[in-house]
């Protein structure tokens, strides 16, 4: 990417010829239909229910193109929700489709929505299909195990094949660090180190104001502060509130103090962290790989990444997405063949080029394209050594709304961290109890 190979060119390129070259180079079988795969002259119609940005859509269109080379008589329709306003809206729309009997064969969702779709019986279990199909087994084997396992159902079955993923990692402005005479953060830095660095980088007034850190203020973005303190909002099995954990209180107090005590972060007001970071009003922020797309397109290169600072633990957070076969799919083997294309190595390579998320296979990152920018790009996959998925219970939308509403009040100083967490704990406990009741009924 540094030598100006644009993403679009790359996509066109991979879309046409080099897919085969990549596949050959990495020893991938290309379109070798197994015994159970439908014959190439199969006619049909597949509908994908999908989400994401424009570049992902192009990526998926390319995968569909490769599928159509094998199955020229299958029409694939890619239904698309732009970056959903929240997963609640996305799943409601999906449920409306399915309840209305509208054709839906393949379902894409982020981890936040997997448990709900499994609970609502919208997707098919895949263990048997994987056992009977070497190609599917190979795809599962190539994906990082921690990513694959996070999408499994509570019963341990595989429902989703991993799409792309993102973690939370610290982005820092190398130019500002240099100017301040600071060394790049150590990979094992602590909360105290972080606070000290952020304090040094906070200075100025009015038009010259610069902050050390812009808080990524949304559920996923806050989670590393819980994980690096060896705690989380929910218990390990995501079934009950863990907000009464003293370690949660400690974490929330730390986040609160960044704004209100130490003043090293601007007050939290919507999703403005990328703007602050790119405008230079914040020297650091936290994100996954997604802003790199914009960094590259605006030719802004003074960014590197470093692991999240640790307190009791060095664990960060990830979220992944997956593809599943809808329970209402008419031709399951055909849908599975398309999923093979959607999760193929070529598609992973295109995800690398697009720059908004990380591919499911580590092997797709072992190339110049991925590692040229940021300099420490290897730290994305490096974070997998100590990582946990973002808690994603069956009632994710409700859980997220309850937690963030109280977090808002804490950050606005309407409630103290103690009060806010206690109230959130009561409300979340009731919601989780209700969920358990509903799950017991069915």
């Amino acid at each position: 990417m540094t030598n100006k190979l644009s993403r679009r060119d790359f996509l066109k390129y991979t879309g046409m010829s080099s897919a085969a070259a990549f596949a050959a180079a990495y020893g991938m079988p290309l379109g070798t239909a197994l015994a159970q795969a439908p014959p190439g002259d199969t006619a049909g119609h597949l509908v994908i229910y999908n989400f994401g940005g424009a570049e992902q859509q192009q990526m998926i269109a390319n995968a569909i193109g490769r599928f159509n080379e094998r199955y020229p008589n299958v029409v694939v329709e890619d239904l698309y929700i732009p970056w959903p306003e929240g997963w609640g809206h996305y799943t409601t729309n999906l449920k409306l489709r399915v309840a209305s009997g509208l054709k839906t064969d393949i379902i894409a969702i982020a981890i936040e929505g997997t448990r709900e779709t499994i609970f609502e019986d919208l997707v098919l279990p895949m263990d048997d299909a994987i056992a009977a199909d070497d190609e599917l087994q190979a795809i599962v084997d190539e994906v990082e195990p921690v990513l694959h396992d996070a999408l499994k159902g509570p019963d341990g079955q595989t429902y989703y094949f991993t799409r792309e993923w993102n973690n939370m990692i610290i982005h820092y402005n190398t130019a500002i660090f240099e100017e301040a005479g600071l060394d790049p953060p150590a990979v094992d830095w602590t909360w105290e180190d972080f606070l000290e660095t952020a304090s040094v980088l906070t200075h100025g007034e009015g038009a010259d104001k610069q902050f050390g850190f812009a808080i990524p203020y949304f559920n996923f973005g806050l989670t590393p502060w819980w994980h690096t303190n060896d705690t989380a909002t929910l218990t390990a099995d995501w079934s009950q509130s863990n907000l009464d954990d003293p370690k949660m209180l400690e974490s929330v107090k730390f986040v609160h103090s960044l704004v209100h005590e130490h003043g090293v972060a601007p007050s939290v007001e919507g999703l403005t962290m990328t703007e602050h970071f790119m405008a230079g009003t914040a020297a650091m922020t936290g994100a996954g790989r997604w802003p790199f797309d914009t960094y590259v397109s605006t030719d802004w290169r003074t960014v590197d990444i470093t692991p999240w600072p640790r307190n009791r633990a060095g664990t960060t957070v990830f979220g992944s997405g997956g593809w599943a076969v809808s329970k209402t799919a008419e031709n399951v083997p055909l849908a599975l063949e398309l999923i093979k294309n959607l999760t193929a190595f070529e598609t992973d390579m295109e995800a690398v080029a697009v720059g908004t998320s990380l591919p499911a296979r580590r092997s797709a990152t072992e190339n110049e394209l991925f590692n040229s920018f940021p300099a420490n790009a290897h730290r994305f996959f490096g974070s997998l050594e100590d990582i946990k998925p973002v808690p994603s219970p069956e009632n994710f939308s409700e859980y997220e709304a309850i937690f963030m509403r109280h977090m808002d009040q804490i950050m606005a100083n309407s409630l103290t961290p103690e009060q806010g967490l206690e109230m959130a704990h009561v409300e979340l406990t009731a919601a989780m109890d209700k969920l358990a009741e509903r799950m017991a009924e069915s």
Partner: protein
């Protein structure tokens, strides 16, 4: 094309083909009346009345899209009395409605009165367009801009407040200021519509009234309160009704700027309905709450019509 249509009608009438049957003038008038409202009423029944009745039905159910619904009588309605968040949402909505209606109508009226003074015609047209322009821009676009203006630490408004020595205001991160921020944005966006309607109303007041009063020695203030306000009262009434109905259903302005936060500080009733329906998936309860909101708006509007008889003067 119109001529062609008329011709056709003429011919049909001549031939009395049955499409426009021979009938008494009164019956024909009624027939044409029903014919004219037919397209609107077909749409009304299919896309408004039917969904409304369906929602009413859903409000008596424990509704589930995928698992089948069960009737639970008035349980959803009973639940409302114990819902503290609903109470907050109603209070927020009422606060918003009072301030938004007052400032939208008030500032709109002031701007209209000023524009109605003797101004160069180009200046009037230009300012009128400028004041009306924000009405035309989608909320989603506006929010992108205003979020930047309202930032606490690096926002434009606080920057200029700092220049004149005022402490920064936590526009979006304080429970009370957030409501103020919403109201300011709403007035910026919508007062132009009130201005336009008021201006039209002002321009239809005949000059003779003012001239006569001036001959009697009335001053500016007397002219305004004795002539302008009474003669403008039907327009004022129209604006109050339209803005009240809109404000009680406020959704767009809030969801794009604060999404109801911080906490529940700016959560309106419709925003709360949206949350129940699309996050908690409690469609039955959401329907019940929206039925009460519908009823409240209906009653308040009727009340406004009733009170209007005491202060609105028709010519």
């Amino acid at each position: 094309m119109r001529a062609c249509f008329l011709n056709l009608i003429e011919r049909l009438r001549m031939q009395n083909t049955g499409l426009l049957p021979e009938m008494t003038p009164k019956r024909r008038e009624a027939f044409v009346g029903y014919l004219f409202i037919l397209p609107t009423y077909i749409g009304f029944i299919i896309f408004i009345l039917y969904p409304l009745i369906e929602s009413m039905r859903i409000s008596f159910q424990e509704f589930s899209l995928l698992r089948g619904s069960t009737y639970i009588g008035l349980e959803n309605y009973a639940q409302m009395f114990a819902d503290a968040r609903l109470r907050i949402a109603y209070i927020n909505t009422i606060v918003f409605t009072i301030f938004a209606v007052f400032f939208n109508a008030g500032i709109g009226l002031i701007l209209a009165v000023m524009l109605n003074r003797r101004l160069p015609i180009l200046m009037r047209n230009l300012y009128r367009s400028i004041f009306f322009f924000p009405v035309l821009i989608a909320h989603t676009y506006i929010a992108v801009i205003w979020r930047f203006l309202y930032q606490y630490d690096t926002g434009v408004i606080n920057f200029y407040l700092g220049v004149v020595g005022i402490d920064p205001i936590p526009w979006l991160s304080n429970a009370h200021w957030a409501m103020a921020a919403i109201i300011i944005l709403d007035v910026w966006k919508n007062t132009g519509f009130a201005m336009l309607v008021f201006l039209a109303g002002l321009q239809s007041i005949p000059n003779e009234y003012y001239e006569a009063a001036q001959l009697d020695g009335a001053n500016e203030r007397q002219l305004f309160f004795r002539i302008t306000i009474p003669l403008l009262s039907p327009t004022i009434f129209f604006i109050l009704v339209i803005f009240m109905i809109g404000a009680l259903q406020v959704f767009d302005t809030i969801i794009v700027l604060t999404a109801g936060g911080p906490g529940d500080a700016t959560r309106s009733v419709v925003l709360y309905i949206y949350e129940i329906a699309f996050r908690t998936f409690n469609m039955g309860y959401a329907a019940a709450v929206s039925m009460t909101l519908f009823a409240i708006i209906l009653v308040l509007t009727a009340l406004q019509f009733w009170i209007s008889r005491r202060w609105v003067h028709y010519e």
